[in-house]
Symmetry: C2
Subunit: 217 residues, 2 copies
């Protein structure tokens, strides 16, 4: 029997790739053509070997002495992250965070194409936020079915999160980007990425404390 091995990418690597990506864009803007892992590492305060390993996942090949062609590397990362193909997405919850998401033009650069937003507040329905139309939450299933939406962004209060998730999944969504501070109960064929701000804040606030502890020695 042949072992079939799926190489899943380590999450730390996935988190670093966008950092490389943004750096590369800036370097390219400056007219630079090639970049080495050494340079990337120095810029981002990482280990060059780690950078090389991360980049290896995208299957680009570099060349000794010069490194990687920047345009190629950008393309390689984009492809690896599927940022080069458009996916239809919807937003549920047009509170301040949801509104910010719609206003963040850059999402189109990541292949995220918001085709609709949903809310339950009557006064919002029918309006447009940053060019995206707000629909009645009850029409969610219908619309995402029609437009083959694969990604749902969840930016509702905790109380509404599970119901919204359920409805999205019934409509055929494959992945949920969850900003609500709760665990969604979903079938394990559905992908959930928890993106609560509090996670990142916890890292920050605890590290501050640990920094003080260290200094006080």
């Amino acid at each position: 029997m042949k072992e079939i091995k799926i190489r899943t990418t380590p999450e730390p690597t996935l988190r670093r790739l966008p950092r490389y990506y943004h750096l590369l864009l800036r370097l390219k803007e400056r007219g630079i053509n090639d970049v080495s892992s050494t340079v990337i590492a120095k810029e981002l305060d990482l280990d060059p070997t780690q950078v090389r390993k991360d980049i290896e996942y995208t299957e680009i090949i570099g060349r000794p002495k010069t490194g990687y062609n920047i345009s190629d590397l950008i393309k390689s990362i984009r492809t690896f992250l599927s940022w080069d193909t458009n996916s239809n997405a919807v937003l549920v919850g047009t509170g301040s965070l949801g509104t910010a998401m719609l206003g963040y033009k850059n999402f189109s650069k990541y292949g995220l194409n918001f085709i609709a937003a949903f809310d339950i507040k009557k006064e919002l329905i029918g309006k447009e936020i940053h060019g995206v139309k707000v629909y009645n939450f009850n029409d969610l299933k219908e619309i995402i079915e029609k437009d083959k939406v694969t990604i749902g962004v969840l930016a509702v209060p905790v109380e509404a999160a599970q119901e919204a998730a359920d409805k999205m999944i019934k409509g055929g969504i494959k992945a949920i980007w969850n900003y609500a501070p709760c665990q969604l109960k979903v079938d394990n064929s559905i992908l959930v990425e928890n993106a609560q701000l509090s996670q990142s804040l916890a890292v920050l606030t605890r590290k501050i404390t640990e920094l003080y502890l260290k200094e006080s020695l």
Copy 2:
């Protein structure tokens, strides 16, 4: 010579603690008094030992058979993350993301107290956003010096990020929560937590692809 060992908390642990925290709040609301690592693990789809080890960092002690007292555990996590003491914070950049941050009432629950926001747009200066006054970016240093601000939230476009960071640091800020997609060049006594949305998106979009790859075998 005595080895002085500072036990820094693993970042994965810090990322999970807020998830426990939110779950605990909900359980407490329901009138539950005690919770075991087994239950937490089941709810969040984690390993019980991992939950126990994470919780251990906060230095609470549980008891066999019943687990942890929920109120105590909540308190313990809050203290560990310094979410129980207020820190003054400022926001730089009142675009859609910045506005969302100010609108996110919950930050006060995490001990984050926004005392001011800053922008360069004349028409915004002097106004209030979600109860926080917007000041001229040029007054940044002065105001954060006066109010002993320790945390700066950076939500400006890339081009403005480094300058804003520099100015915050000059004012005495200790930690920057950076939402701009770039690397800040700062002295290593300053703490920077990068919280670009693209990091989390990368995890999501790549995992979708890997899920498809797996299914197509």
